[in-house]
Symmetry: D3
Subunit: 246 residues, 6 copies
């Protein structure tokens, strides 16, 4: 089976890292196709960047759907554009944020999220409420590491993340950690070993979930709000990817 993994920002190094993490998590026989939009921000740090990443992300989902992939992963921890992507796709679509929350809920009583910047906390908390899993999350913490600083292994990013993990144990009564950025996909194993509790990377979590859904033949529900977009005129520069009228 082939799985599409879309990094919704336009930083190639991050797409490559995500692709490697996804392939490493995949079952034998699963091929991961890692892509990124042709347009949009270099990183997604807050609501504004999210808004501009979605149209390009949807173009990638549409291309994957046309190519017949078995499932889609949206590899931004904010689960950018997830609802719109589900309207577009018949195959299952899983965001790495929701994937990490669901996996953590199966292993632990309550988890803490460690994300990049404080400005992203509100979006993550909002998603937790929408998904229904807010009661399982002890706290969303920010390590105050910009997304692209995670690409610099000489910096102190991992030290800052480790500090927040220890605070989560001591102050939040958390028994698992969710890493709150696709750019942390390579750190989960190391941090889990160092801190002695499950540390969950959303990229790997989303890959195994979407593989499982696909293997069971389950597809996105189409009788509710994820019904295909209605045919209508789209003005200007955008070429939407939905079924069109006449």
């Amino acid at each position: 089976m082939e799985i599409l993994v879309v990094n919704p920002n336009t930083t190639r190094a991050m797409t490559d890292k995500i692709g490697r993490a996804a392939q490493a998590a995949a079952a034998p026989g699963t091929r991961v196709r890692a892509t990124q939009p042709a347009m949009g921000p270099a990183s997604i740090e807050g609501f504004y960047d999210e808004a501009f990443s979605v149209p390009g992300l949807l173009a990638e989902i549409a291309a994957g759907e046309a190519a017949g992939v078995a499932g889609h992963v949206i590899a931004c921890f904010d689960d950018t554009g997830l609802d719109a992507a589900r309207c577009l796709a018949a195959a299952p679509v899983v965001g790495i944020g929701e994937a990490a929350f669901h996996v953590a809920a199966l292993l632990a009583h309550r988890f803490t999220v460690v994300t990049t910047l404080s400005r992203s906390i509100a979006a993550i908390e909002g998603n937790l409420v929408r998904y229904g899993l807010a009661t399982r999350c002890a706290r969303v913490r920010a390590a105050e590491v910009p997304v692209l600083a995670l690409e610099d292994r000489d910096g102190d990013a991992i030290g800052r993340i480790a500090t927040e993990i220890e605070r989560a144990r001591a102050e939040d009564r958390a028994d698992a950690i969710v890493l709150g950025c696709a750019g942390m996909a390579d750190l989960a194993g190391e941090l889990s070993a160092a801190h002695g509790l499950p540390v969950i990377d959303g990229v790997a979590a989303a890959v195994v979930l979407v593989e499982g859904l696909a293997r069971l033949g389950l597809r996105t529900a189409k009788s509710g709000p994820y019904a295909p977009p209605l045919p209508k005129a789209y003005a200007g520069m955008f070429a939407p990817f939905a079924p069109r009228a006449g």
Copy 2:
């Protein structure tokens, strides 16, 4: 004072109707500037249309901000792009959905929303939860009237809406009605008189709220998730409207 009212779809007749409703609600001395994006869908019916309306909407907000308007109204009942617009604007930004909910909460014990199509219910319910006002809403009902059918006064749109209002009284124990689409902005007075309970149009509600915020000199909070976007590279066709790095 000047207030920008953005219809986030690209149907001129609807922008005009919204503009008239907004100007009628405004205080003497307030000038309403009603606009629509240069690009995007002709109507917003579900998550997919929302995603494609946001970049064009943000361009309008940016233009209004540059022109020094006292406040912004987003005239789609889904409050499309509201969080991103607040990152962009220093002036207050009010969505017509949230405006109607807040106003209803000041007049009534619990309200029912009557919107256009069932596929929009999920987004509205999600917003109610995010805003905190879900407990004040008895139910979100759909009259099953497409957005653009509201422009056709010969159709049975108003009859279908009236039917749902009566059901809301009888079945939902609602003591006020919120009209769930900007295209219903001209119906509130007529329906309130006919049914004998407050019927709230979000366009008018948003205008008086944003005028009030502006008159008090209140501006969007900038120390949290609505901080200005960080400067960064944006690839491809989009020209974002945020402060850029040197």
Copy 3:
């Protein structure tokens, strides 16, 4: 238009300060009528004082209604007697607590309330839950300043409030502040400038909200729990202000 602003306690200096703040917030052409009950406690600090302020407050609302005011403001942050006042009035009635919460929710992601005494926190938290806005409030803090000490500008009231505002930024992740007492109505501008985030006074907030409701012709919902009181015998010293049976 004329707006009635009732200070539900019997301290004239506070009524005067509230009246000045309300008039300053009002639109040109709005006349504020600031009153206080003939009977009741000198300040409202807890549930017991609230109970004794309500009958006198309702007498003022009844007088305003008889005089044809366009709307009523209840100028105690506990929104004392709000539900009973809505039964009595056809014009809209807005409490300064709820007004401040609604306005804060339009400007910021989450707000902290800074009130006078710890004993008032429970009533404010209870109101937030009833209104549905508890999820938007990060925390209710007390500066431990008695209500009437706010009348003494030589004291350290403002210093104590400022301390709590700084704690709210650092500890609560609040991006706006709500001042939790009508007696703080003159401090919002100063504190907002000093701390660099929106600081909301409920008196001003309630005035612009009730003006907006009145301008739109919206009135209190009468088909639910705010229906006029049923005619019935009232024993003893009270002369209620409801429609009476023949």
Copy 4:
């Protein structure tokens, strides 16, 4: 031990009925003192009547406290004035609404409340949320029987209540019923036998709860919002019952 049971309305026949029900529920050796205020409405049907019943109710509580009663019961299903009474009393104070909810929660999975008039539903639902027990209540139903019509045994009051009980079984999946008015205190046994599920009267429930609290020597918490009222001037006709300054 002596228990004060206050009927907060001024209808003597109802006070007598409540007193009989309370005495019947009390343990051997407990003496019930049933009283009513000297002033206030003949029945409590909605927020407005509640507001005017509280000062007289508090006078009765103060008198009971001075007489050294072991505990107080407020015999209106809205638990009128409960928080203020707790500020006034050192002995425990139990409202019949909360008593019935707590007892039902010990016997059944979820209960339905059957009250008098629709206009009272909002207050009861609000109390359930404040107490934390809203999730245990399947629904609050109104039999549309005015409070004082319960005094007329020739009417169809019991038939209307029975109809709602059967609906609660069939539609609400309720396995217990709470009778939502002090005036129904004499109906619980008959209705329980007829419908085959626990039917709970708040008067009896409150009596056994307050007896239990008193026997254990437990008293109202005084370190939080139920602290004694602060000494202060009270203007006009009210003579409050709090400790006074100098």
Copy 5:
């Protein structure tokens, strides 16, 4: 009347202490029968111990029911096996955890629970959510005292509990304390006097509640999930105590 009080662990000294506390709380004329299962763990510290204590506990409930007791108390703060016991018994069944929460809610605005070990916090928090009373609980704290260490009066158990009570006052804004283990049944009076706020022991609370229910003739609801178990084959070593098919 006779009340069965089951200590679900198999430590005789704890059963004796619980029995003494229960008898001391009971009304004159109530006889307390304190028992423990023939099989199961010596103490209940977490989910695993709970699972093994339930079958023996149910045997005791069945024996009490057969003996015609007026009510049952489950004397483990986790309310181990409460739902299953309610299926088995027609008489009322009260757990000491729920009893303490309900009693605290009648005396105080919000309470803190002080339990034995951190590993028990999750079960207690889960119960609070199920019962609906989570909003009344400020925090569940662990004194980090093993259950059986409470039997050793020379240790520092009471000192550790006292420390958490002081923290609850200062940090949690709690105005009452619930002791979170049956083994603390003898400490409530001493701690309440020392700290000046209500300190509630669940054993005593459960006794007065179940006595009250029994005196009112109220019995467990049988039309919902507490219906008697269906007759069916039980394999292996267990002899269940439910009505059996012919």
Copy 6:
């Protein structure tokens, strides 16, 4: 990899059906070991049956853990004994109820559960609240089919389930269905095809989830409430499976 799938009741035909469904869902290379306890009820219908199934279930989990299985599935929709099993196991443990809820949440906006008997609704609703996913569930419906009647393909079980699925579409606004009993594991494909929306069987869902967790090397969190049981004496007939003190 080997996965243990425990049917917690003692009906061999049901264990066989569950084993077939689990093996069919498993990835190539996964071996499913389907077992059942040596003791306990023939079916689990309510809280009482649950209580007696747990010790035998835990014996199976202990045996699987000792045999080094990669993960455990508890194949009763009530997720019987899940928390206790997590204390016992280092490998991941997934219940089929939670598995179905998590999978449904990834495919649909809101799902309805169709279970066997009304008496099981309360336990399922309680689990949804504990897991945090109650807001994603529109309703729990009972087809009123006893568990073992599902083994009789000549009966009308599937017809009754189909009726509830159609009601869920029409009345609950559900866009996916969760089958609420392990005994329905063979019906999901047929029902999904017939009704045109995702129909989720928990056995298959749990198998793909536990396989995914195992492939990622994730294990049950041991620093919180799922820590290994403390060593202690266990009286009587039970031989617990926890690490024992020297």
